[in-house]
Subunit: 327 residues, 2 copies
């Protein structure tokens, strides 16, 4: 296991996972540049396998473990993209995967995990039930627990999204990414500052799950209690590991309201015709809301994922733009 | 005006519009290839300006008219993508555009037309009211009427989508595209057979608006009465012009049900994370439904557009994939 991460580990992770991942495109949109007053570069991890950057980290964690440790497979508890990511990463290496999921997880997430051939164990929707369920599974099967973000190989994997972005377009002035447990933003920080130490790194959080902002501002991990946001990938709290990385690298963490998240998501869907999930829209909302602080600058935005329940979308009627003549 | 179209006209159109259009990507998706049993190549006109291939034709029509004819601008009646396309095409040449639209058109379409600076005249939602409204506007303003498909320069413009597709990936065995008024399919036919005379060309229609299928099978234009389909871009009937082109080039026209359209649309949204409108999903549904006729073959599919009302989507709950163990 690595002690502290640097650009060398990120390049190694990129090599490890290269045969398995999609090299996702960087997209631009004049309309959104105009709205934000920025030059936006969208790294499209919504087009990544399993529909989220999470596959990079899960894949690197699986690739990095010695073969003899993997015979019993890998395990995790997750209701989200990490579960599907680990299931596919294991499937591609022909290893068993065990996922403990709350019974009330969205059907689309259950289908994804089942589709990649993982074993699901359902539990109640509490952290305690999930951890106990995982403990049981690990004891029964001997599988290796892969944490969704409190794990250096996972973070090194997530870092490869920013690495690809910057390798492709060169230095940007700013990178913005959403912050949940902090795995993506930690990896992004290590890749970006490893390449360009002067880049400005901004995390973005929902107001209803702003533990990372409060943690960074107060200098210690403040866990999130009762998160309330549509951005279902950003409910978790930082770990000591991700807190320590983010404290060293981030300029700040901004917060955005639920309305701003849905508005940003709608703009991306309507203008770019691509599907991003609310957690990804959080970073876009940050770019729109705080764009005037970086007017005209190059801003990289990591679109973290594109998994949504199509029968439960948050969009209301299209607002009216303007009156016209009537006959 | 050109009498009959050939590949030379299409190449000329491509040159005309090249400074204004997006050269859209050709995307692939393993999951959908597997489902259809085909090698699918998706030409993504949902990423075109105004969100649809229609911009190609409108842009070529505007570019092809002599400047002195254009001083008074251009006009059309449309509730759909052609209105926005013509509005933008005129705007980019600094010409006025006049659009006659039914009052009950979706707000998103009205906004698009207003956003590109066109003058809207609202009318009642009958073809008669639209034609009368257009006649009045043309008399008052002297603008040139640009028909959405019964127009050789428009068809030559639409043809450039297939031209780009085949220039990029080489010959495919089949191309499938949706058929409404027949402008896109006519252009596609001329481009494809101009390059590769042996290619198999298949139009796809909704069962609830199958006038082109009935027309081609019976050898004369049979107008559509009371079309009923979610594919709101495919409600119109063929013209004598598009009928005569399609009769010469098409192997067949297939039809798909409303359920098959929504199902195909959902698959593209969920697997590819891109937004296509129901009319585009019609061609995808055709590929899924009749895939066994072309097993393993290379099939180009024109994804005609991506304009949807996000507050009125047709998706029901995600079906359950399979049971899992319970704890």
């Amino acid at each position: 296991m690595i002690d502290t991460l640097n650009l060398r580990h990120v390049r190694l992770a990129a090599e490890n996972i290269q045969p398995f991942i999609h090299h996702t495109p960087v997209l631009r949109c004049n309309g959104l540049d105009h709205l934000a007053g920025l030059q936006l570069f969208f790294k499209c991890e919504n087009f990544q396998k399993v529909g989220a950057f999470k596959f990079r980290g899960a894949c690197n964690a699986v690739c990095s473990l010695p073969k003899e440790k993997l015979r019993q497979g890998v395990a995790t508890h997750s209701s989200g993209n990490h579960a599907a990511a680990l299931a596919l990463a294991a499937h591609l290496q022909d290893l068993p995967a065990y996922v403990v999921m709350p019974e009330n997880s969205p059907q689309v997430k259950k289908n994804a995990v089942v589709g990649y051939g993982a074993h699901i164990t359902y539990c109640q929707a509490t952290l305690q039930a999930r951890e106990q369920g995982l403990k049981n599974v690990v004891e029964e099967t001997g599988a290796v627990f892969i944490h969704p973000f409190d794990h250096l190989d996972v973070i090194a994997g997530q870092a490869t999204a920013a690495l690809e972005l910057l390798d492709e377009i060169g230095k940007t002035d700013v990178i913005m990414a959403p912050v949940g447990g902090g795995g993506l933003m930690s990896g992004t920080s290590i890749a970006a500052h490893g390449l360009f130490p002067s880049m400005r790194l901004i995390g973005v959080e929902p107001e209803g799950a702003d533990d990372a902002m409060r943690s960074i501002h107060s200098g210690r991990v403040i866990p999130q209690t009762n998160p309330h946001t549509i951005a279902d990938g950003l409910l978790t709290s930082l770990s000591e590991l991700t807190f320590s990385i983010l404290s060293r690298h981030l300029e700040d963490i901004y917060t955005v309201s639920e309305e701003e998240i849905v508005d940003a998501m709608r703009h991306v869907w309507e203008r770019m015709k691509i599907i991003i999930e609310p957690s990804a829209a959080v970073a876009v909302a940050g770019a729109f809301k705080f764009g005037q602080r970086f007017r005209g600058k190059k801003v990289g935005v990591i679109l973290s994922g594109g998994n949504v329940q199509l029968d439960r979308l948050p969009f209301g009627p299209q607002p009216k733009l303007e009156a016209a003549s009537k006959e």
